[in-house]
């Protein structure tokens, strides 16, 4: 019993349609929610739910509340008139979660919430589509310029995330080489940068947006062996002028934009080919 959909609702509206009692979090009723997740199986809640949702459940245990908290739920609705104990309420209070009680059963509650949104059916379809599209891992990292001691740490982290998801090992290798080269470019030439990793079932994208001196001639920088590295950096074994060419070799798409004196943005894409 697990179904998810996204709605443009707040807790107050849900309270009204379900005629629910708010037993915890009365001040938080204007909180907007992303969706509703109805399930009695805690492991499903952990495995499939999305953040910012409301959990609809008939299971009134502390474990459910903890699981909901860990899955970043904003509210829990206990159905069929179940009453949570003091412990559950204390935990919810501590973690700023809202708890509602309703006499409706699971199906009634789902239908009532679905009907509460004026265009719910068309919204439902649209939202399911957007959920499909948004099935992307997004991670942001920060890189400090000149931080040679931590260089390579990020690409290792990215590697282990991608490995965990289960991408093809050779794709991961290409991504981690490119991420490492991009990271090293920031460490050597820029003040700081943000690295964003977007990974979904079709492609993996890495965007490195730095604040630094910028590149005046991108075409020249793309040539093998061209480097503006300082003597000190060369002593450390960097600056062989292979950074950008190496990224180009390993990525499927590469876009570089730069403003001299402001910074450089490197966007790389890798296609995922699934058997």
């Amino acid at each position: 019993m697990a179904e998810e959909f996204r709605l443009n609702l707040n807790i107050k509206k849900i309270k009204e349609v379900l005629k629910a009692d708010v037993v915890q979090g009365k001040k938080l009723l204007s909180t907007k929610i992303n969706g509703v997740y109805a399930s009695d199986l805690v492991s499903d809640v952990l495995a499939y739910s999305k953040s910012g949702s409301v959990l609809l459940t008939g299971l009134c245990t502390k474990q459910v509340v903890i699981s909901a908290y860990l899955s970043l739920f904003k509210a829990i609705i206990f159905i069929r008139g179940k009453k949570p104990n003091k412990e559950i309420l204390e935990f919810a209070e501590e973690k700023n979660m809202i708890i509602l009680l309703t006499e409706n059963d699971m199906f009634e509650a789902c239908v009532k919430i679905a009907n509460a949104d004026s265009n719910s059916i068309s919204n439902f379809v649209k939202l399911i589509e957007s959920v499909e599209k948004k099935n992307t891992i997004i991670r942001k990292f920060h890189i400090d310029g000149q931080d040679f001691s931590n260089s390579g740490l990020l690409s290792t982290q990215i590697k282990s995330i991608l490995q965990n998801i289960g991408y093809d090992p050779y794709l991961i290798k290409r991504v981690s080489i490119s991420a490492y080269e991009g990271e090293m470019n920031v460490v050597m030439h820029a003040k700081e940068a943000n690295l964003i990793l977007n990974a979904n079932e079709k492609e993996i994208q890495i965007i490195i947006d730095d604040r630094g001196k910028g590149i005046s001639d991108i075409e020249l920088a793309m040539q093998k062996g061209y480097s503006t590295a300082t003597e000190d950096q060369r002593v450390l074994g960097f600056g062989s002028g292979m950074g950008l060419p190496n990224i180009k070799k390993n990525s499927d798409e590469l876009k570089i934009s730069s403003e001299v004196g402001a910074g450089t943005k490197v966007e790389m894409k890798f296609y995922v080919i699934q058997e």
Binding site: L46, Y48, S49, L70, L72, N135, Q163, I177, S240
Partner: protein, 423 residues
Amino acid sequence: MDQYFYHAHEIIKERCDGSLKCIRFCPTQALRFRKEITFLSDLCIDCGECIANCPQHVFKPIISTVDDLKSFKYLIAIPSPILYAQFGLNIHPTIVNQALKQIGFNEIADISKTSDELGFALLHHLKTHPDIRPLISSFCPSIVRLIQVKYPNLVGLIEPIDVPREIVAKRTKQIYSEKLKINPKEIGVFYLTPCPAIFVSIKQPAEKKSSWIDGAIPIRDIYSLIFPIIQQLLDEKDKEYQDTFHFGKGWGVLNYISRSVGLENCLTVTGVQNAKMVFDDIVSSKLRDIDFIEALACKQGCVGGAFCMENPYISRHNSIFLQKKYGDINPFDKEKVITNYNEGYYFLEHPVLPRPTRSFNPDISISIRKMKQKMRISSKLPQKDCGLCGAPTCDEFAEDCVRGEAEPTDCAFFSDEFKKGRY
């Protein structure tokens, strides 16, 4: 995970007092404590850290015993060179070999000369294949498994040349079955091993169908058997040593490969954590100018194996000293080695393949959803990596929760005991 993985240890659950030390030491995070200690078979690389670090000896190595020798007509021992370093400096390796013969081995095979030969073959391979860099030594079975499990994209870098112990076993079996005119199956070739990983590589090799070696006996078992005999032999002082024993340079101490073949652009790394650091650098293409990496799972190399008697620093010292004293440049026919190489005599039967990775789901889109959930749970956990939940880190715990292998309430920080101040 349908595939079955052989492991050389069993868990004696009654001994476990739940001290969780093993969980912290496991380099691949394969151990969990959920009411009782268990391990994830696909992640275990048989490095022996749990065996070495458990104060209650919960992990019992499964390994050949002296009784296994009885089923063979003719017995050949291949001692790891580490065996000779377990004794004092005044004990000549020949005495050790004599003692081995007295406990029932018909023949003792030397591994060091074959190591020299293989070192040369490796050098030849590096020269003829300049594109694949850096190659990683196939010597340590735990390192090979580490690559299969955690670095699947590096399997192509594993040196395709077989390890000395296998080549020696192959060779001696052929020689003695011809010489004695008996079936090779009746010849028992046993490796005297410093670590349990070698036993796993014999039972379930990563690179061939079946091993040439019939079993492995721990050095510490052999030690207790031959030590009294060695004492006796030493008392018979007038007995002269047959000076037939020479070591090649391929003598199992650190850095032996680079020393035996004079390979300069070579890294030596010991310890699984350190090896992981180096492999991470290879993945991000940081190590561009290195030709060869000799990685060994035990600290200080094989002298640090779980079955060694002597402390690794002393036996390393012994080892270097013995090699200086008795080591010899043993000439081998270089032409013949190259001919053998070209005929494929030294090669692994098939390349090492990655093990199926522990992703959430074969379907990437389901996997991504679960990964997001893992990150979400992880962000709410205390990140203290206390291990009280039974998983080594908060991150691993979050993953176990998403897989349904753990309950969020297992986290001590969400439990009632924690609130009541019992932790």
